[in-house]
Symmetry: C2
Subunit: 478 residues, 2 copies
């Protein structure tokens, strides 16, 4: 087991790739810009999926499956939508040995084809609301791919809902933003700011886009999930009409919202350190690794292993799932075995050596702090449960403190420029400019408006000087 992770301070991008490689989370695929998600990474995705899926179902949503391919004529029905997505699409031109009459786009997102189906299914106000979600792969061709953050193919969920009234659709948009914030903060231990996107950062075809913005450990921002109020744009483009309570034909109001495997990139960049990955316990597929250890391989395998297995079974029962692993790599040196679990981000390591056995104790080692505790056998289970809970809160607090420490206020554009170039991080400033102003800020500073903070906090725009501008977070972003 090589300890070959570049330190964060030396080269952050390389550190990120090294963490992924050391944990065997993903690899580049032999397809331009695409990745393979390896079992360690995929198990984290399954864990993330389970949390979101349960929350979607609890809020009344059902899953469905829409086609991978989308006729180009569909994309063209919404002007902003096609302008935003067509340049990134992969195109199927041939199938079954023949050239197709009309080429298909591999879906970059599914508002159009889902809108088409909704127009067939929805007839009356009694059919509303329609609350669907799909877990699937999408494709947006990337010139500069980065594992989990920007790949030509990625996995995500896309929720698509249709409502009777504007108010219901707006409530749905905000409800799902809230669901995202809740899970990203309480399960992934990633603090996020939520708010509206500026006009230049909106989803192509949306009236309003809301976002969860997280700060990575290099102080850059990452958009961790978005929820869109689509107004009647797609309803009009695809004739999603229903007979309302007054017997008249009316257009639906629709929303869409999504999170993707990018969240794994965020998880890595928020929590990990120079030893590798650190996974928050509530998301970790393996919450505790149990290592029977002895210089004598046969003592480890014959005397200690049965006790390790017994402890593993008890813990699994207590934790309500197969959340522990017994490490039987006796042919590997103990230090290397420790490091394998460190690099894979397992929250707790339990060491069972001959001395521990004689003393009636187990050594517990925290991944987040490195702290070691020798715990009496009968206290192991409650201590493990307590520590997993402590690690979860500590990871969230650490990330939140880091964000607070790296958030600054700018009263003028010069101040914003200075902070971005000297300190980085999040910059709070009043902004009321146009999308053209946003382009200029990006070109001059590298930063973009990440989200408009909610609440009563208006002031003078740092660009236009006009009053009543909204308080906005600026940052360089992934």
């Amino acid at each position: 087991m090589a300890r070959n992770i570049t330190p964060r301070k030396e080269n952050y991008s390389q550190w990120y790739l090294d963490v992924i490689k050391a944990a065997e989370m993903a690899d580049y695929a032999p397809v331009r810009g695409c990745m393979v998600i390896r079992p360690t990474g995929y198990a984290i995705w399954e864990s993330i999926q389970a949390k979101f899926d349960a929350a979607f179902k609890k809020t009344g949503h059902v899953n469905a499956c829409f086609p991978l391919l989308i006729p180009y004529s569909f994309l063209r029905k919404e002007a902003e939508h096609v302008e935003g997505f067509a340049p990134e699409c992969a195109t199927v031109t041939h199938a079954g040995g023949e050239e197709l009459e009309e080429p298909y786009a591999v879906r970059p997102t599914s508002e159009t084809v889902i809108g088409y189906m909704y127009s067939k299914w929805i007839h009356s106000w009694r059919d509303l609301p329609v609350l669907m979600n799909q877990w699937c792969n999408v494709m947006r061709w990337e010139k500069r791919p980065r594992l989990f953050l920007r790949t030509s193919e990625f996995l995500w969920q896309e929720g698509h809902t249709a409502h009777e009234t504007e108010q219901e659709a707006r409530e749905e948009t905000m409800r799902m933003l809230g669901v995202y914030k809740d899970i990203i903060e309480n399960e992934l231990a990633i603090p996020v700011l939520t708010g509206e996107k500026t006009a230049g950062e909106r989803f192509p075809g949306a009236n309003d886009t809301y976002t969860c913005e997280a700060m990575m450990s290099d102080t850059r921002a990452l958009q961790a999930g978005t929820s869109h109020f689509l107004g009647q744009n797609f309803a009009k483009a695809f004739e999603i009409q229903y007979q309302n309570r007054e017997g008249e034909l009316a257009y639906c109001w629709t929303t869409s919202w999504g999170v993707s495997t990018r969240l794994i990139g965020a998880l890595i960049m928020v929590h990990s350190d120079d030893d590798g990955l650190i996974i928050p316990p509530r998301i970790a597929p393996v919450k505790a690794a149990i290592l029977p250890i002895s210089k004598d391989e046969s003592i480890a395998a014959n005397d200690i292993l049965p006790k390790a297995k017994e402890l593993s079974a008890k813990l699994d029962e207590e934790l309500g799932g197969m959340f522990t692993r017994v490490d039987t790599d006796f042919h590997v040196r103990p230090g290397d075995r420790f490091f394998a679990h460190l690099q894979r981000g397992v929250p707790l390591r339990l060491e069972l050596g001959e001395k521990d056995l004689a003393a009636g104790t187990v050594r517990l080692v925290r991944r987040d702090t490195g702290e070691k505790l020798d715990v009496k056998n009968d206290a192991v289970i409650p201590t493990v449960k307590q520590l997993l809970s402590d690690i979860q809160s500590n990871m969230f607090k650490r990330a939140k403190d880091f964000r607070e420490a790296n958030t600054h206020d700018a009263a003028s554009y010069d101040e914003l420029k200075a902070i971005i170039s000297e300190k980085g991080g999040f910059v709070r400033a009043h902004f009321g400019g146009t999308p053209e102003d946003e382009v200029r800020i990006r070109e001059e500073t590298g930063a973009t408006p990440r989200c408009i903070l909610p609440g009563d906090n208006r002031g003078k725009c740092i660009i236009t000087g006009q009053d009543n501008a909204r308080l906005t977070i600026f940052a360089k972003a992934y």
Copy 2:
């Protein structure tokens, strides 16, 4: 609620489509040959997935995610494989606004790209076995699509494993065939025959293919799952080599195995009747529908609904999940409400009317037999549990009896021809012919060899007259 299902005897194909439509399980998509799986259908797929996924994990497999696109050069590395799949592929020729240097196939199956990745990951015998699975979409262009049975895009799982020895790979092939049979029979209540495929029916690139064959209610066969022993074919094509225990470089032995959304088609065709879908209780997303009923809508909503909700909560707790639904469509006539649940295949209907309330009983109605039982309140929960178990066994027994009644023996080719044309069903006959003989039989009878029955049952081939031919099931198939 229209009772618009064509009777099975009148037009089996139309009956099948009507059942799907009435249950709102799927629709054709606006993409040639593709389908949309609607929430009722998708919930069944989620339920099927959960059963298989748990069994895969229990047998040591882990999930991963490989790319959607496959370079054509990969397909060409295994001669039989490219010959079998290239004609069915959809092709991506452009992406990101440019023509690609090499076109990609949308994966029809992933042996090639997974083989390529395995060659990078596997170095030593200590890395083996590698036991991976992926749940994903695949594409095989279909000229004559049928919902769930043959669509250009479908969902499936594909297991891919690599082993040190031929024996281990053969054991894995048979283990997974056994896992398939277990779940298809015990969860989906579909009896299957398992055995080897003849040479003409093998997976392109496999040494041996094993299959689970089910009989539909029109006596045709449907291949419900396959497990392939791939020998060293893909290992040699993709250089999947490892250093063996003797320190020498050796090729791995690999397997692959899959089940797909076709299983939903099988579920429909094995179990459903002229009233619509019937879902076996162990797979049913909704196991019991609870209907508060009164001519007076306000009595139903105010007096009966709370009792229905209470019963629903108790049952959900007892059944260990959200498996009941309370029907509040008070604006719909009771007969139509009953029919809605019939058509969707809900195994049990619980009716709570005013008379039932007064008598302290609940009326239970079985979907499989139509039997009605009035059960005292305190016996409802145990009776529901017992009935769900009875329905499950009854559905399996009914399907198995049907298969037995429609399985015949043929001692000669003439007899086989006569049975296929006059009675249909499964025909057992000794067969030792070539793939060319298989083509001739198909052309002359419409039947194909479905599977070679295991066991000591050799005899004289009905085609070649040679001894020692293996007992084989022939049938017309989906």
